[in-house]
């Protein structure tokens, strides 16, 4: 009870502060949403402020919160890891476009097995998270890992306990790979049949790190920065691939951006010999007929700058820039954003 009251009080204070900021610094861009791209948006914002003097305030409150905020018109843009569907975008009058991509990697904890030594497939991962494969010495795992000695050790699946775009992309991939996953479903949070939940990437990593036999999934950038033992994956074409910027980019190159409303392509399980099967994009939402066209216009200018000058910064932080063809596709869609007289704002 006390916690909830505190929560409400904090929310009220935040709301007051946010509205105060919005009026005080009209030129600054305000955005809210996904936590996954937060480090990158923060870095871009700092660099952009240096170059142009225009600041960008981004609150990483989660994709769900970002969608709510942009619908309620309290921010200039919302950010989400889970793309909205064409009809949802239509109903809310929103335009959606992808910004950068990242990958999701399985991590594990087995004594004496080195990072990258284990190979997993979507089908095996799905069976592990369904509780059907219970031990590391299961024949299905052994078949993918000839030559690697896997111990007789109970498998403890670890998942994200908070709602997360990472979970959405992960469950989407499991659903693509194993038809039994349909009973669990695809969402930012699901009713996991087995395992333990950790809060955030750091929660999952901590649980995997200290539980022998555990397996989990985290964002690639997070796994790399913390030197977590990741596995390789079997992709849709039946090839074994390493998680890397190249394999994420391969997945993006093979995706059908043009034919998906709002470019809401889910990059999991894309075809192509080099494609990493658990690649994911993160998205921006703006109003097509914004109440404050200046705010939306500066948002689009900011992302135009980020597309052209932000690739290096993205790669430094282990995010994957979009292919150039996709960027020009996205920028041409910005013409749909108009002010009150029907003129494009960008």
């Amino acid at each position: 009870m006390f916690k909830l009251r505190k929560l409400l009080a904090t929310a009220a204070i935040l709301a007051v502060t946010a509205s105060g900021l919005a009026t005080a610094q009209a030129a600054d861009i305000s955005g809210a949403g996904a936590t996954f791209p937060y480090p990158l948006y923060g870095k871009w914002a700092a660099e952009y402020k240096n170059e142009t003097g225009v600041g960008m305030n981004y609150q990483s409150i989660g994709s769900g919160g970002g969608i709510k905020q942009i619908k309620a018109n309290t921010v200039d843009f919302g950010a989400s890891d889970k793309p909205l569907s064409g009809t949802e975008l239509e109903q809310a009058g929103l335009l959606q476009f992808p910004v950068v991509m990242g990958g999701i990697v399985p991590i594990f904890n087995i004594d004496g097995v080195k990072p990258g030594e284990v190979v997993l497939s979507g089908d095996v991962l799905a069976q592990i998270y369904l509780g059907k494969i219970k031990n590391w010495n299961d024949p299905a795992i052994a078949a993918l890992n000839k030559g690697v000695k896997l111990p007789d050790l109970a498998l403890i699946p670890i998942y994200r306990s908070d709602g997360s775009g990472t979970s959405f992309n992960f469950t989407y991939f499991l659903n693509e790979s194993n038809k039994d996953w349909a009973e669990v479903g695809v969402n930012t949070s699901v009713e996991w049949p087995v395992g333990l939940g950790g809060k955030g990437n750091e929660g999952v990593a901590a649980l995997v790190g200290q539980t022998k036999g555990a397996i989990g999934y985290v964002e690639y950038a997070y796994a790399l920065q913390n030197a977590l033992p990741y596995s390789r994956m079997l992709n849709k074409d039946g090839k074994v691939v390493e998680p890397s910027l190249e394999s994420f980019q391969a997945a993006a190159a093979n995706a059908d951006w043009k034919g998906t409303p709002g470019y809401g392509v889910i990059l999991a399980n894309q075809p192509g010999a080099a494609s990493w099967p658990m690649t994911a994009a993160t998205f921006i939402l703006v109003h097509k007929a914004p109440a404050k066209p200046e705010g939306t216009a500066s948002t689009l200018k900011f992302f135009d700058w980020a597309y052209s000058k932000g690739d290096k910064m993205a790669e430094d932080l282990h995010y994957v820039p979009l292919p150039d063809a996709t960027v020009s596709l996205v920028e041409s869609s910005w013409k749909q954003v108009v002010d009150k007289d029907g003129k494009p704002v960008f």
């Binding site: 009870m1 006390f2 916690k3 909830l4 009251r5 929560l7 409400l8 409150i61 989660g62 994709s63 769900g64 919160g65 969608i67 889970k82 109970a154 403890i156 306990s161 908070d162 709602g163 997360s164 669990v184 479903g185 695809v186 969402n187 930012t188 949070s189 699901v190 009713e191 996991w192 395992g195 333990l196 939940g197 950790g198 809060k199 929660g203 901590a206 649980l207 200290q210 539980t211």
Partner: protein, 314 residues
């Protein structure tokens, strides 16, 4: 000469007293207003989930954001079980510490120990969570749980509580950490009420040849019943609502299990985990509904505590 200051004093009290009364009254009303606002928000916010789920919301163990079906049972049971474990651990320990401090402890270390215990209360709950996850859980998994499973597991009925693989994280660990967290609160209050027992009562009892245990049991506890119940209620209230520490060590799984070592979840842990990313009216509403259930639960616990206090007073 004499009159001037008195008149001045009168004038001051003519304005000052009503102003002071008005000030205190308005602060009190403000609290009631906020409380009313919280109740209103919780009830209004949980209407959609009751519309969709009906009373099933209160009796099902489902929690499925994919099919939009929610029930309070799993987090509610988790909240009650962890709070119960916390009380079982925390209350007797606190009483023992309080008694030691007031009756047995050499005078010169009494104050340092008291301060140390009060410092425990000042540790932020997230610190308990991190400590529980990184330090206690691995030790629990490798040293304590295997023993519990081997020793208590085979016992019929009771053994059902100590089954399954040793993971470290779970309801038992969450309850133990909670017990440690409420300990300083209960200890601080009980120590104060224990020391309020008139020395003459205690001395007389010892004079009659009572043992220390008899003094606690027959003199100190009956004399302080009211205060002690208050202290326990304070601890219970905190155990029911504690969020961050529990989120770290309970495993965050929406599953019912007879084993205390299995992962579970509590109402506040579910809120902390899922509120930010809850998409859709029913999901958000279900979480607010959980808040309402916790509110009602806490209300009843406090009301029960007050009733016990009143009865003890007679």
């Amino acid at each position: 000469m004499d009159e001037a200051p008195r008149r001045k004093g009168n004038a001051r009290s003519r304005i000052g007293d009503p102003l002071f009364k008005w000030l205190t009254w308005s602060f009190t009303m403000l609290v009631l207003l906020i409380l009313g606002g919280v109740v209103f928000t919780l009830v209004e916010g949980s209407i959609p989930v009751f519309k969709t789920m009906g009373l099933d919301f209160l009796i099902t163990a489902k929690w499925n954001p994919v099919t939009d079906q929610y029930g309070v049972i799993v987090p509610l049971v988790g909240t009650l079980v962890t709070a119960l474990i916390a009380m079982l651990v925390g209350v007797p320990t606190s009483f023992a510490i309080a008694f030691f401090l007031t009756e047995l402890c050499p005078y010169f270390i009494r104050q340092p120990i008291s301060i140390a215990i009060e410092l425990l209360a000042a540790v932020p709950s997230i610190i308990y969570g991190i400590w529980g996850l990184f330090i206690v859980a691995p030790y629990f998994q490798s040293h304590i749980e295997p023993v519990l499973i081997a020793v208590l597991g085979p016992i019929p009925v009771l053994g059902a509580l100590f089954q399954g693989p040793a993971i470290g994280i779970g309801m038992l660990l969450a309850g133990l950490i909670l017990g440690l967290m409420i300990l300083p609160f209960i200890t601080a209050v009980t120590r104060d009420v224990f020391s309020s027992v008139p020395a003459v009562l205690r001395e007389s009892a010892y004079g009659l040849g009572c043992t220390r245990w008899e003094v606690v049991r027959r003199i100190v506890l009956p004399y302080c019943r009211t205060g002690v119940v208050g202290a326990v209620m304070l601890g219970l209230g905190r155990a029911l609502g504690e969020t961050m520490a529990v989120t770290f060590v309970i495993g965050n799984a929406h599953r019912l299990s007879t084993s205390l070592m299995a992962p579970g979840t509590t109402i506040s842990a579910t809120l902390a985990n899922e509120f930010t990313e809850a998409v859709g009216d029913v999901y958000t509403s279900a979480l607010i509904g959980l808040g309402l259930v916790l509110f009602v639960l806490t209300f009843f616990v406090l009301a029960l505590g007050k009733r016990l206090l009143l009865r003890a007073g007679h």
